[in-house]
């Protein structure tokens, strides 16, 4: 046992020769232990067996369909008659379609507001519940509860909270403000939906931040405290930089999730009406594909969504070097 602990450090070559096997601490993958003669005999066939369902799924249910969507997006197809090739017509039509442009604007607005708001609140909340006291697990349960709820049920509850005689208007009437129409008001509809989604999305982000906070070694805080750093300085120069990996990760999840918002909009705003203020990209895809059976239009909109998410993810990853510090 003593010799194995020696070996975890880059040890002397003489000692390594004496050991029967290469040190376990230095072998990242089982493959590198063996001499270079490719995978162990027969192992590839086993791998194929273990991966067979995944490979079929990848080809038929995800990678294949992404390409198929691209193909369908170049056609006009109602699923009853044969598809007709129309080249880029669906795309050019979409870019002059007011309803689609509104969906695009709403989705961007939703993302631009809900992502920073959600991350900021989650960070604050994580620092609040990051206490080492008895019963904290029970207290945290109260904060984490929205984690498991369906957006459908939650949207119905919030619809009632936003109703003319609901919770929010009653609270406003107590401080003497006349009732608002919330989701029924074109300008307030999107912010109302964002408020609900932010509440529902908080727990997952709080959990990631909490794990990040608990991973910060206390020595760092001790070191800056010796220098006489106050609360703000400790947050600014220790907590925040060391939490950037968590912030980066929650950011990417929030970004991808925000572009796909659907359930809340479907239940709360019922955007079937032509002049609807809350239509989002995924709702547009759902409506054109599965209500109006314009498969080509739905596919083109889906590819635009895919490109938007891909571009934003790429840009986001590019910024990583500038602000994310790994310990």
């Amino acid at each position: 046992m003593a010799s194995s602990s020696d070996l975890t450090s880059p040890g002397s070559p003489a000692r390594q020769e004496a050991t029967p096997r290469p040190p376990p601490g230095r072998t990242p993958a089982a493959g590198s232990v063996r001499p270079r003669r490719g995978p162990r005999a027969g192992e590839e066939r086993w791998a194929l067996l273990f991966l067979a369902p995944t490979l079929i799924g990848l080809a038929v249910l995800s990678a294949g369909p992404i390409l198929a969507t691209l193909g369908i997006s170049l056609t006009s197809w109602d699923m009853l008659t044969a598809p007709k090739f129309v080249a880029l017509e669906n795309y050019t039509n979409l870019l002059s379609d007011d309803r689609f442009l509104k969906a695009l604007r709403n989705t961007f607005f939703y993302t631009a507001v809900s992502v920073p708001l959600g991350l900021g609140l989650a960070l604050a909340l994580a620092m609040i519940v990051n206490q080492r006291i008895r019963g904290i697990a029970w207290i945290r349960t109260m904060y984490f509860l929205p984690l498991v709820t369906s957006s459908t049920a939650i949207a119905i509850v919030w619809l009632w909270m936003y109703s003319p005689t609901g919770l929010f208007n009653t609270a406003l009437s107590i401080v003497g403000i006349s009732p608002l129409r919330w989701v029924a008001d074109p300008t307030l509809a999107m912010p109302s939906i964002i408020a609900m989604s932010t509440w529902q999305g908080l727990p997952a982000n709080v959990i990631i931040f909490l794990a990040g906070l608990q991973g910060i070694p206390t020595e760092y805080y001790d070191a800056v405290s010796v220098d006489g750093a106050g609360r703000w300085a400790r947050f600014r120069f220790v907590t925040l930089p060391l939490l950037t990996p968590s912030i980066f990760f929650t950011g990417i999840l929030a970004l991808i999730g925000a572009f796909q918002v659907f359930d809340q909009v479907y239940v709360m705003a019922n955007p079937g009406k032509p002049g609807d203020p809350t239509i989002t990209l995924v709702y547009f895809i759902y409506e054109s594909g599965f209500r109006n059976f314009h498969m080509g239009v739905a596919s083109a909109a889906a590819w635009i969504l895919f490109l938007i998410v891909a571009v934003f993810t790429l840009i986001y990853f590019r910024t990583q070097n500038r602000w994310v510090h790994y310990q």
């Binding site: 086993w46 995800s62 198929a68 109260m142 991808i256 359930d263």
Partner: protein, 308 residues
């Protein structure tokens, strides 16, 4: 044991008085901390409390009395009204449908994701890195981009027991996919498998065990916590999903809880007590699961989160 060396009574008294005052201050801080944390928690729970209290009121109470007041009586009839509100089906049917779909999807993911994860973590084969990167890439792809081709695929798959003669209108599209792998589960389980020391598998291999035996008898039993985490997440996602059931399910008796609830909401606009009862009942299984298995939820989020 830092008692003063001089056993005179007076300094000891003042010492203990001082310490008790300090203890009082500490208890005071503790109480404020607890009170603050609980108040914050209650604020987070306002929508739940509001849902519960509304579900026990009468319609008249909801619209007339102050909304913060307690209900005059416990009007449980809202729950039975909700349960039997739709013609021909009860909410129990929706529950059964959701339960079946969520269980099948969970079983499928557990089997196929753990197999793929084992291949990526333990076995050696050509193209391993590229394939794994490809699977990770599907994690960030919005699944809506596969919606139309999958719908087309299911429309061409025959099924003799449905009205359409194909998979549309059945619950098959909602769970069969789960038997063909998944990015999240594969990633989660691979991370876990990598932490299992290879000595065990090496020893078994020397004894002549093949990879399937090693997988089944060593890796699967050791990965039980990670499997539980995946099971819980997949169950939750299936249970809460709205878009897919909305697309594929056609008639009321086949609806899941979410679609049933959305449909119900369209039918009973304004009847808030009954609607809140419905929302609460649909949330209850997940809330109970969360209270029982909170640490698996937390682990799943941090495990997949911090090693990303």
């Amino acid at each position: 044991m830092s008692a003063p060396s001089v056993p005179a009574p007076s300094p000891r008294d003042s010492w203990s008085a001082h310490s008790s005052r300090r203890r009082l201050a500490r208890i005071g801080r503790r109480v404020t901390l607890y009170a603050g944390l609980v108040m914050g928690g209650l604020a987070m729970m306002i929508p739940f409390l509001w849902m519960v209290s509304t579900s026990l009121k009468t319609r008249r109470e909801v619209f007339s009395s102050a909304p913060f007041s307690f209900p005059t009586g416990l009007h449980w009839e809202n729950y039975s009204n909700m349960w039997f509100a739709l013609p021909g089906v009860t909410f129990g049917t929706f529950f059964q449908n959701s339960l079946f779909i969520a269980c099948m999807a969970t079983v499928g993911q557990l089997i196929t994701c753990s197999m793929a994860a084992y291949a990526f973590a333990v076995l050696d084969f050509r193209g391993k890195r590229i394939l794994f990167a490809l699977i990770l890439a599907t994690l960030i792809i919005p699944f809506q981009v596969t919606l139309v081709p999958n719908f087309v695929l299911y429309r061409y798959l025959p099924w003799p027991f449905s009205d359409s003669g194909n998979w549309i209108g059945t619950n098959l599209p909602l769970w069969v996919w789960a038997f063909f792998g998944g990015a999240f589960g594969t990633f989660l389980l691979r991370q876990f498998f990598l932490t299992i020391p290879t000595d065990l598998a090496d020893a078994a291999r020397v004894d002549g065990a093949n990879p399937w035996h090693i997988f089944l008898n060593i890796y699967v039993p050791l990965a039980r916590p990670a499997l539980a985490t995946l099971a819980i997440f997949q169950f939750m996602w299936s249970w809460n999903d709205l878009l897919d059931p909305l697309i594929y399910l056609r008639d009321l008796p086949s609806y899941t809880t979410t679609v049933g609830l959305a449909f119900f909401q369209g039918q009973y606009i304004g009847n808030w007590p009954v609607m809140m009862a419905g929302a609460l009942v649909s949330l209850l299984p997940m809330i109970i699961l969360f209270l029982v298995a909170q640490r698996y939820f937390v682990r799943g989020i941090t495990l997949s989160g911090l090693k990303g």
